[in-house]
């Protein structure tokens, strides 16, 4: 099996009747994801696409349909609350796609999750996909190919770029995860690397980081100490000037810290091959796998 999600995963969509929630729920259903329930408070009893039952609460979705993983498309004002609800209902994994969740809301959410079994992915992330089995998120399913490379990234479209390159080279993916670029979120690089390391179906990992913070440096240290599989990396933002926010709230170089050069050096010191350009992520992985 891949990590976190597979063909048996039973998914509930929170915010399934909203504009983007319904759009992506349809795409995920078409991909083959087992969406067993939807949640929109006040619309309990209705059906989505004439087949997926809608409930007022996540708890009902868990009780009645055995939902275990939640995907959240709730607007920013209610997103943190939706995560709390999913965790409280016992979902083992929550994927929050919503962009624009206030950082202090996420600080409270993380505190709430302490000591609970619920894992959180996001917010402000493209989601997770195990090719041919389960897609939970907004990524284009058709570019993926089943295989043995894990893809791990802070960015959405840059992940598609990496996946596109891998698939074109005939390299399939075990699971692809976009952890999102917000300053405070759920699963980080190390959490995911750990799972990929323990997954027999994953033979190597592509890690895509970006400027700002020090998550990449810590990941590099962890790889050096624990990783048994080849990892290649790319860091976006070499050309970014300091002090400017580049789209993601996290992507800002403060006081000369968190530069691309610093992160690349950390990876190289950990034995991780670093792709010189974003156009070479696929070939770098190919070289690392055959080395």
């Amino acid at each position: 099996m891949s990590i976190l999600v597979g063909s048996d995963t039973r998914v509930v969509f929170q915010g399934i009747t909203g504009e983007s929630g319904s759009l992506h729920a349809r795409a995920c259903l078409a991909y083959g994801t087992k969406i067993v329930a939807g949640v929109t408070p006040g619309k309990g009893g209705q059906k989505f696409e004439e087949k997926v039952p809608i409930f007022d609460t996540v708890e009902q979705a868990v009780k009645n349909e055995g939902a275990e993983v939640s995907c959240i498309f709730v607007p920013p004002a209610g997103a943190a609350d939706a995560i709390l609800e999913a965790a409280d209902a016992g979902c083992r994994f929550v994927v929050c796609i919503t962009d624009g969740v206030p950082v202090l809301d996420m600080v409270r959410v993380r505190r709430f999750l302490e000591g609970r079994k619920t894992k959180l992915l996001g917010p402000n992330c493209p989601g997770i996909i195990t090719p041919d089995e389960c897609k939970i998120g907004i990524m284009p399913g058709h570019i993926h190919k089943k295989g043995h490379v894990g893809v791990l990234s802070k960015s959405g479209t840059l992940t598609y770029e990496a996946v596109g390159q891998l698939s074109a080279l005939g390299i399939g993916q075990s699971t692809c995860i976009g952890i999102g670029g917000d300053p405070v979120g759920g699963l980080d690089f190390i959490d995911c690397l750990q799972m990929f390391n323990d997954d027999p179906e994953t033979h190597g990992v592509v890690l895509i980081g970006e400027i700002g913070g020090s998550a990449e440096q810590r990941a590099a240290e962890w790889i050096k100490a624990h990783m048994k599989k080849p990892v290649i990396a790319f860091i976006a933002g070499r050309a970014a000037p300091p002090g400017k926010r580049m789209g993601h709230a996290g992507a800002i170089i403060a006081g000369g810290k968190g530069t691309a050069a610093e992160k690349m050096a950390a990876f190289e010191a950990a034995g991780v091959r670093v792709a010189a350009t974003p156009g070479e992520m696929g070939v770098t992985m190919k070289a690392a796998m055959s080395a």
């Binding site: 600080v107 598609y160 050309a239 010189a276 156009g279």
Partner: protein, 398 residues
Amino acid sequence: MKIHEYQGKEILRRYGVPVPKGEAAFRAEEVSPIAERLIAETGIPVVVVKAQIHAGGRGKGGGVKVAKGGAVEARALADKILGMQLVTKQTGPEGQRVRRLYIEQGLDIARELYLALLVDREQRRIAIIGSTEGGMDIEQVAHDTPEKILTMHVDPAIGFAHYQARKLGFALGLGPSMKGPLGQFVKVLETLYRCFVTEDCSLLEINPLVVTKSGEVVALDAKVTFDDNAAWRHPEWPAMHDPYEEDPVEIEAKRAGLSYVSLDGDIGCLVNGAGLAMATMDIIMHYGGRPANFLDVGGGASQEQVKTAFQMILQSGHVRGIFVNIFGGIMRCDVVAGGIVAAAKELTLKVPLVVRLDGTNVELGRKILDESGLLIQSASSMADGAQKICAAVKSAKA
């Protein structure tokens, strides 16, 4: 979103944090009456004239001056500072034009401390940072004498605990009695925490927090940054926004739902997704070009937004070529292609255009471009596109 010192102090004053008396001035003529008023009210003959720009390091750059000669000197200093291009460590070499001043009472300072509240990404909590080295460049202090930086984290379920403030106060040498500066410090810190949370700050920095010779604890500076993601629950924020502190093109972009940052190169970029947009700048640099901007049209841009994006790129004047790099997920390549064609025709594009499309509806998108009759170089990959635009711009220059 950043705000000015005087706006930050207004907020602190509302919360009950002691700040010096002061008033903002937008014209030099306003300065003398303000200074006279401050001197009369406080009985202190000294006022400070402070440039209001969003960048730090104003003092070293010559933007903060002390007037010991009363209102006349304050006015003279204001004439010098108002309208100057203030260059600091954070503004870049071109500096920032001073359009507002803050006139403040002088204080007899005994000690200068450093205090900041911020969101610690690694700990996923609010961190409170204190140091005895107030008034200095704190990054330098952290680098040279890290032992002088004290950090504590707040449990969001409990809130900021009294003992934490006390502990920090003792460590900063404010003891022994709670009746003296220590007691005031504890109250100030607890108030600042409440302000940070209620106002959705991402940074609240007081550098320096001073202890006056009479033992009062006062916030002498205030640097406040709000979390943009929380704007929807703060209708009061737009009134504090100073458009002069931002690139007008960036403001226009925000209005159109785009994310744009001006850079100093000559290759315009139009990309979907922040990560891919950064990576596109990187690959242009790699092949010897210089990006003119960062532009993320977002996940599901409309034809209209693509057109606006083109207009913005062209507005910057020095653009000699445009590279469109789209990996469609939610974003459909045919929609992007339609936007490109409409924009190129309407804006009579005169610079080379390279387009790389991949992902959802890519065939349809390429067909629209091919049949448009426009001179568009199509690229098979990101690297191919970057090489093509760099070559095109180079040959146009030669």
